[in-house]
Every structure is written in structure tokens, then in C-alpha cells.
Symmetry: C2
Subunit: 315 residues, 2 copies
């Protein structure tokens, strides 16, 4: 494991760099990778993001200027916010064994790269990329904006428990470059598509409470998604709804990916270790936010995740 | 007008201090006043908050340790986050003419005090109180927590456009005292009662779009409120839901107060002047947020408000 100074030194010695993001890309992986890409370019290097086929409209504007041309042959491959090699998109799998540097903040990191710059205390991978960039180059407004998106999205705009004093200090430094974050905040945190609002309404109408109303389960059946013609953007971060229910300290969202396959998202307070719950189901993540993908029907997976919560709580 | 250094100097020379908060007290007035009160006490002074009869359960824990004993006779009276003397609670009106120092951040401030420490750029009055306190005493965790509440509530947890780099820097400094803000964030910004969630779900399920999907109308029928046993807290700020709909620049909420009487809330972007719309219906407000109370059924009022929007837009 290396620190941000050493990571910066490694990057300084590289050129023709390809940056990899993770499947179902969020603001952190895209924003961090785009910011690093622009920083490396500002240093006179050639740098690109590998196209991520699951990019959503929300984050496309940050990634689009960085996409690598088809068939690009990099000299060095860097992964950004990728916990394990399995979370690389399919078109990145050929690079899984030759990642020179992994920059990440997941405690469940799989150490698949030659060198790893990991800080599990960081609210976002964007915090680590910020520190690496400050070692190497000036943070211009063009770099600051995707980095703000990376950090703000991963801490729910400074509301999640991963938000630290450092998170705020970095946000302040980014804003001091002159970027206007109010439009970004409005779009990311204060606007919802009609389809998304309708899906949330359905999820709330059908939510189920367990364990003396401390555990809530919300479901996103495939049929609901199809019926509403929901896009990936519409269902992005829908797992943040369940933990909002008053009195609940474990909010679980079950999303049917395809018949017989369910993605579990667990958001929890101190009583329930979300990472442990998801590890029992073959997944992983953070103590307060974790996930797993499990075979079975929605009802079967519901039973399995409730059993896992019970096991973890009683340990 | 005086700066925070001068305000601190004035406060240093005072003792037996009574702090006043504003009607319908929010996190900023209570948190800022409580923090200043505790700071003054740490300096060996006698300081109290005048009881605010409209205090809600949410902010009571911060105010309660500071309430003045009944009949307290102060030597100096300070107002915190009070824009004009009319916004003092009734039990504070006797002090309206003898406020020694007003600390505030409202651009509409009425200059009713002997000295005024105003910064209309501050996202919260808490930012100004923070600066005054740093001039006078150490910010202990006990002071930092209500100050964090003050700042975070007035900027919607760093999402509103009033959030500045300074706001983030102060939040960082407060967190560095060692306070745990995650419980506060969870309670204030990430919790909704089940009743509220179900009401929002109903409002979304039945929302209606008009004018090429630029105007949305959401309704809160009396029957829905009764059926759900909704309290005032459950329906507080429900009018902030409609303007979140993507693509909409005019979000209208109709709340049936009693049979035949409807409260209209209009939140709008640049195209629709909400104040003009509500003026046509006998109400008023600001360009981006206004209201009116109108006689009629929900359907009648819906037609009336849509006509009003059409008239105002075509003017």
C-alpha cells in the first residue's frame, strides 16, 4: 500500500495512461477519474478514461471529454474507485491483471493492482484523488468541478456519516477555485425525474417493516421498472430512500436485475454492520453502506437478507 | 454596522446577558443563540436565552439548557437571527426598544438595535456567531454542536446556493472539535415519518402536469390528511416536493384546509412570477415562492390557479 505522495510520484513517471471506472458508474468513480485525467493532461501527459458502457446521462458530461479512442493502447492502466477486479466493466476485464495503480477508498478493497493507494477513511475516492493532484499540479476550475461531483455524490452532499472535517475542507478548497456548485447541487440533489418520483412512491406504498420497525425493506421489481420505462438514471441511488424512514436503523433495497437475480443495498446505523450483512451474502462494502448481488426471487432474497441481518446483529 | 471583532469586544464588556430568538424558531436562531450563550458562560458570564414559546421538539434540546429563569432581569439584550423587531416572539416585545446588539444575516434587516453586526453574505447567522466566538473564547464541542445545527439547517446541509467555501471551512472547524454530526444530519436531513412518506407517495401518484409539462400541481386533500392521521410536522414543507419534479419550472401545491378552503403554494423559476400568480388570487410573497388561501373545492382552485399562471405568463 502506498500513500498519495508515492502515488503522485508514480503517476508523474507515467504517460499514455488509461483510467478505469467501475460498473454502474457513480459520481465518485466518474468524477474522480475525469479530474485525474484532466490533471494528467494539464501536466502534458496523454490520459483517457476507458469508455464505461453503463454511463448515465447524469455523469456523461464529466466523462465524455475524456473517453479513450477505440482501440487505444495505453502504457499504464489505473483503476479509480474500483474495490475488486470483478467490478470492472466487461470491456475493461482484459486490463484486470495489468492495473499499475489502484486508487480506492473501499475497506473491502481486493488488492488486484501492482500498487494500491487506499484510504478507507476517505468519504469519497475523490478525496484521495484531490490529494494526489495537489502533489502534482494546480487544481483548476475544470478539475475542481468533477472532483466536487465525486465528493458530493459519495457523501450525499455532506449529509452521510462518512463526511469528515477533511471532506468539508476539500469542498471549500474546490469552491475557492471559483466553480459554481449551486447548479450541480440543484441537478444532483434537488431534482427528480417523474419516473423516479413515481417509482419512489411505489416503493414507499409497498415498503415492509421488520424487527420492531427497525428494519425496512423496499423493492424494485423488474416489472415496475419495465412498466415505467425507467432508465438507469431513474433508478440510480434509489437505495437512499429506505434509510430515510423514521425509526429505522437498517434500510434495505432489493432491486431485481433480471428474473432470478437481485441486487441488495444495505444502509445502516451503528447497530447493524452493513458490510458484514452483505459479506454473508457474498458481497461487501462499508459498515454503513454495503451491497451484494444474489441469485433468487425477490421473496427468497428478502428472507435471506433478513436472516443475514439477524445473524450479524446477534453476533 | 459593526464587524465581528467589534461585536466580540462589546460582548466581552457585558454581563447578565439575555439572548432573543425569532418567531417560528428554526435551527439557525436557536443553534446560534445557544452556542453564543454557552460561549459567554464559558467566559464566566451570566447568559440566558429568553424562552421561545414556539420552540419545536427538533430544536428544544439545544435551547433547554439555556432558558432564562422566569422574571430574569438582564443588563444587556442581544438578538440573534432576527431580521426585524416584528419577528420577536410576543414575550420578547418588551425588549424590542432596548436591544444592545443585533447579530443577523438577513439582507432585509431592519436596524432596530443600538449596534448591528450584519453579514448578508453569510449562509447562516451561525457563521457570524462562529466568528464572534473565535474572537472571545475556545469553541468547545458543547458550543460547536448547536453552531453546526445552526449552519447546516440554514443551508439545507450544504446543498442550497447560499453555501460558500467559508460555510464548509466553518463546518470543518466545528467537526474538528470532535463533535459527531452524523446523528444530527440523520435526524434533521435524512428522516421522514412513515406518514409523511406515504403522503408524498400519494401526492406524486396523483400529480398532474400542465402547460407542456412545465407546471405541476400536487394536492393534499383533507381526506388524505385525516385518513393518515397526519400531524402538522408530517405536512410541514410538503410544498417543497412539487418543485423537485424534473423539467418543471412551476410547482404548485394545493392543501385543502377545510371543506371549501384551499391553501395554495407556488414555487417557480424565472418564467413564472409566483408572487404575481398569488396576487391574482388574493395572496402574495416572493417571485420564486408565494402563497394564497382561496375559497372553493380543490378542483375549482386548481382551475383558478392554472388560469392565474396563464394570465401572468402571457402578460
Amino acid at each position: 500500500m502506498i500513500d498519495t505522495k508515492r502515488a503522485a510520484a508514480l503517476l508523474c513517471a507515467m504517460n499514455r495512461i488509461l483510467l478505469l471506472t467501475h460498473v454502474r458508474p457513480d459520481g465518485d468513480t466518474i468524477g474522480s477519474a475525469a479530474a485525474l485525467c484532466l490533471g494528467l493532461r494539464a501536466m502534458g501527459k496523454e490520459a483517457y478514461l476507458l469508455y464505461n458502457p453503463e454511463i448515465t446521462e447524469t455523469y456523461l458530461p464529466y466523462a465524455a471529454p475524456c473517453w479513450a479512442p477505440e482501440g487505444y493502447q495505453p502504457d499504464h492502466v489505473i483503476s479509480i474507485d474500483v474495490a475488486v477486479a470483478d467490478l470492472l466493466p466487461e470491456n475493461a476485464s482484459a486490463y484486470a491483471d495489468c492495473v499499475a495503480l489502484a486508487v480506492d477508498h473501499h475497506p473491502s478493497h481486493g488488492y488486484f493492482a501492482r500498487e494500491t493507494c487506499l484510504n478507507a477513511e476517505a468519504a469519497a475516492c475523490g478525496e484521495i484523488v484531490y490529494e494526489i493532484l495537489t502533489e502534482m499540479t494546480e487544481i483548476t476550475p475544470a478539475i475542481a468541478l468533477p472532483l466536487y461531483v465525486a465528493i458530493a455524490t459519495d457523501c450525499g452532499c455532506f449529509v452521510y456519516s462518512n463526511t469528515s472535517a477533511k471532506t468539508h475542507r476539500i469542498a471549500a478548497a474546490l469552491m475557492e477555485t471559483g466553480i459554481d456548485v449551486s447548479a450541480v447541487n440543484q441537478q444532483l440533489f434537488r431534482t427528480k425525474s417523474k419516473v423516479r418520483l413515481k417509482m419512489e412512491a411505489q416503493m414507499v406504498a409497498q415498503m415492509e417493516l421488520f424487527d420492531h420497525d427497525r428494519v425496512v425493506i423496499m423493492k424494485i421489481p423488474l416489472a415496475l421498472r419495465q412498466e415505467m420505462h425507467a432508465t438507469e438514471t431513474d433508478i440510480e441511488e434509489l437505495s437512499s430512500l429506505a434509510p430515510q424512514v423514521e425509526g429505522v436503523d437498517c434500510g434495505i433495497t432489493l432491486r431485481e436485475l433480471c428474473p432470478g437475480k437481485v441486487k441488495i443495498s444495505v444502509r445502516s446505523g451503528a447497530r447493524v454492520n452493513a458490510s458484514e450483512v452483505c459479506r454473508q451474502l457474498g458481497g461487501g462494502g462499508h459498515k454503513a453502506a454495503a451491497g451484494a448481488t444474489v441469485e433468487g426471487s425477490l421473496d427468497e432474497v428478502k428472507s435471506a437478507v433478513l436472516r443475514a441481518v439477524e445473524t450479524v446483529v446477534s453476533q
